[in-house]
Symmetry: C2
Subunit: 372 residues, 2 copies
C-alpha cells in the first residue's frame, strides 16, 4: 500500500471515522482505522461494533490523493490522528514498508507506526436496510438538539437511552424521555413511511457532529440497524431493542392555567436558584397567581431564595408545584425561542413547555412531591 494525500483533507476524514472508535476496545484491530486502497479509491473504516463509520475518498483536486500501490492496513487511530494533526506540511505520504510497518513521511522526517494486517479487521455488514427517508442536515440537527438531552443516561432501561423515531403516514415523531420528562419533535416527511425504531442518542450525536449544514442525509433503517448516508460517508448504528413507551398518553390535552414568559428572564431566574440542591437535585417551586409568579427554592442547610418574574403573563387557576429546575432549564434552552409557553394541567400533573410560535416541538415535565 502506498499513497500521498493532502494532510488537512486526510485529517478531517480520519477525524470523522475515528469518532466511532472506542479507546477501550477489547479487540486490538478495532482501536485502529482500517485503510483500504482499491479500484482507484480509498476507504476508511472505524468501528466500535455498535457504531461504524465508513467514508470513501476518490482522487480529486481538493484532496490531492495519489494512489501508487493498492493494499490495506489497520493503523492505531490515536497515534495516526496525532501525527497527521501535528505535521506541518501540505502533503503527506503513507506506505506499508515491511509486512505491517507503516511509514508516514513529511517534508523533514519519517514516522513509523506498527500497524495491524487488515485481515484481522472484523467483517462489518454495510448492506443497506429497506426503509428509506431523507432529512435535511438542519432538520436532523434540530431533532437531536431538541430531543436527545431528555434521554436517560442510565442503562437500567436501555430503550430510554435512545431517541424514538416513530413514523405514521408522512409524519415523523421523534421522542426522547428518561421517564421524568419528555422532549418531542415532529417533522413532516416527503414520503409516507411506517416504522418505529429507537436510535442510541450517542450515535445520533456522532452523526450530527459529522454532517455539514448543507448536507442532505439519506437514512436507511430496518429492525436491527440504521444508516445515515451523506457525502460519500456511511454512519451505521445498531438500534436499541425493546418497546419504547407510549409517550403520546402523557401529553396533556387540556390545561387549567398557562404562563407566557420571557425565556431569558425565566432561564436566568431558574439558573440563579441552582446554588441550592437537595440530595444533588435542583428543585424549584413555582407559585403562580394571575397577579404574581414566584420562583422559589429552599434548603434548611444553605438558605432560600424568592424571585418574581416580571415579563410574564399568567392566566387560569392559581397553582403551586415543585419541579426539577435543571429539567425545566434544559427544556427552555432546547426550545431556543424568545418567549416560552408553560401550561399546567393541575397539581402533580404533567407540565407542558412549548414554543408558542412553533407547534412542532414540545417538552413535558413531571412535577415532584416537595418538602412542604
Amino acid at each position: 500500500m502506498h499513497f500521498s494525500i493532502d494532510r488537512k483533507y486526510f485529517y478531517d476524514k480520519l477525524s470523522i471515522v475515528s469518532r466511532a472508535i472506542s479507546v477501550f476496545s477489547p479487540l486490538p484491530a478495532l482501536s485502529g482505522i482500517c485503510i483500504d486502497l482499491k479500484d482507484d479509491s480509498m476507504t476508511l473504516t472505524g468501528s466500535d461494533s455498535n457504531i461504524s463509520i465508513r467514508t470513501v475518498i476518490v482522487p480529486g483536486e481538493l484532496n490531492n490523493l495519489d494512489i501508487e500501490e493498492e493494499g490495506s492496513i489497520i493503523i492505531d487511530s490515536k497515534y495516526l490522528l496525532e501525527i497527521v494533526r501535528k505535521l506541518d506540511c501540505k502533503n503527506i505520504e503513507i506506505e506499508v514498508i515491511d509486512y505491517s510497518l507503516v511509514r508516514i513521511s513529511s517534508d523533514n522526517g519519517q514516522f513509523n507506526l506498527n500497524g495491524i494486517r487488515s485481515n484481522e479487521y472484523p467483517d462489518i455488514d454495510f448492506t443497506q436496510p429497506n426503509h428509506h427517508f431523507v432529512l435535511k442536515a438542519t432538520d436532523l440537527k434540530s431533532i437531536v438538539s431538541q430531543t436527545a438531552f431528555a434521554c436517560s443516561d442510565k442503562d437500567q432501561r436501555p430503550v430510554l437511552m435512545g431517541v424514538n423515531f416513530n413514523s405514521q403516514g408522512n409524519m415523523l415523531y421523534c421522542s426522547g424521555t428518561d421517564s421524568y420528562r419528555l422532549a418531542r419533535k415532529t417533522i413532516e416527511l416527503g414520503s409516507s413511511q411506517d416504522f418505529n425504531i429507537t436510535i442510541p442518542s450517542k450515535s445520533l450525536t456522532e452523526v450530527v457532529r459529522s454532517v455539514s449544514d448543507d448536507d442532505t442525509i439519506d437514512i436507511f433503517a430496518d429492525s436491527k440497524k440504521a444508516q445515515f448516508v451523506f457525502d460519500k460517508t456511511i454512519i451505521q448504528t445498531r438500534l436499541i431493542d425493546g418497546t419504547f413507551p407510549d409517550v403520546q398518553r402523557i401529553i396533556p390535552t387540556s390545561c387549567v392555567s398557562k404562563m407566557l414568559v420571557d425565556s431569558y428572564e425565566i432561564a436566568g431566574t431558574i439558573d440563579r436558584t441552582n446554588f441550592i440542591r437537595n440530595d444533588k437535585v435542583h428543585l424549584i417551586k413555582l407559585e403562580c397567581t394571575p397577579q404574581e409568579t414566584h420562583v422559589k427554592t429552599y434548603s434548611s442547610e444553605i438558605g432560600n431564595s424568592d424571585e418574581v418574574l416580571t415579563k410574564c403573563e399568567y392566566e387560569g387557576e392559581e397553582i403551586s408545584l415543585t419541579c426539577n429546575g435543571t429539567y425545566m432549564l434544559d427544556a427552555i434552552k432546547a426550545l431556543g425561542c424568545e418567549k416560552v409557553l408553560i401550561e399546567f394541567s393541575g397539581f402533580m400533573k404533567p407540565i407542558k413547555v412549548s414554543n408558542p410560535e412553533d407547534a412542532s416541538v414540545l417538552m413535558i415535565l413531571v412535577p415532584i412531591r416537595s418538602y412542604d
Copy 2:
C-alpha cells in the same frame, strides 16, 4: 451589617479573595469569605491558612458602595460567588437580617444564605514583614511564567514545590527546579537586599492571576511569610521551610557544542514525537552533527520517528543524547523567543537552553540514560 454595592465590582473583589479559599477546608469558617464593615470601609478576607487574601473597598464612584450599618459576617464563598455572578442587576444590597442569616437583594428577588458569625473566623496575622522590595507586575509575571513550571509537584521534597527568591546585593535570582531541570530568571532590584526565601509556586500563581499589568507590587518578606501588596489588596503566603539546593553549581560554565535553532520548528518537531511515551515519559533523542541535527524517538511497541531540523545552525563536537521532550518543550515555550540557543556540555552532562538575546533567563535540563 447592611450595605449596597455595584454587583460587577463586588464580584471581581470576591473572586480575588476567594482564590485563597479551599473547598476542602476542615474549619467551616474558612470555607467562607469574611466581610467586615467598619470605619466607612469594607474589608474582605479569604484564607486556607497557608495563603490569605485581604482586600479593602472604600466607597467611590466605581463601586457605588453605600454602608448603612457596620458589622461583620462570614458567608460561604461558593454560594455567595454563584449568586452575585448570576444576578442580572446593577446594584445589590446585602444585610444580616437575623442573627446570622444574610439577605442578598436584587431588583426582583431575595436570596437568604445561612452565614457564620464573624467571631468564628480564625485570627490571621497581617502584620508587615521586614524585608521590602518592589517589582513591576509584568516582571513578577515573567518570573512566575518562566520559573514556576519547573517546580516539583510532588511533596516528597517540599522545598522544591516553591520558587526560590535569592537576593544578593541588588540582584534577585529566582529559581524553580524539580531536580531534573532548572529554570532561572534574574531581575535587577532598585535597592540592595539580602534574603533567601522559597515561595510556594501555587501562591505565586494566585498572585499573578490577581494583579493587573500596570500594577506595582510591594513585596514584604521575613523568614516565615511573604506579602504581596497592590491596589488595596494584600496576598499573604507562608514560606516553605528547608534549604533550597545550591542550583548555581549545576549551571554549566562551558560548552562543547551549541545549536541555534528556530523555536517554532524545534517546538513543533518535539511536539510531534509526543505520540511515543516510554513508561509515560516522553523521551527524545538528539543526534547532532555540524551537518545535520536529528530529533528521534523510539518504542518497540508503537513505532519510531526521525525528523531533521532545517532552520538550525550547529557548531562544535558531535553529540547524541536522550532527554525528556516535555521538559525541553516547557523550557522553549517559557523562553518565548524566536530563536533558542541550546548548549551541550558533554555526554550525560547538563544541557543549557536560553534566549540568545536575553541573558536574564536560562533553563537547564539533565539528560537521561537511554534505551540504546
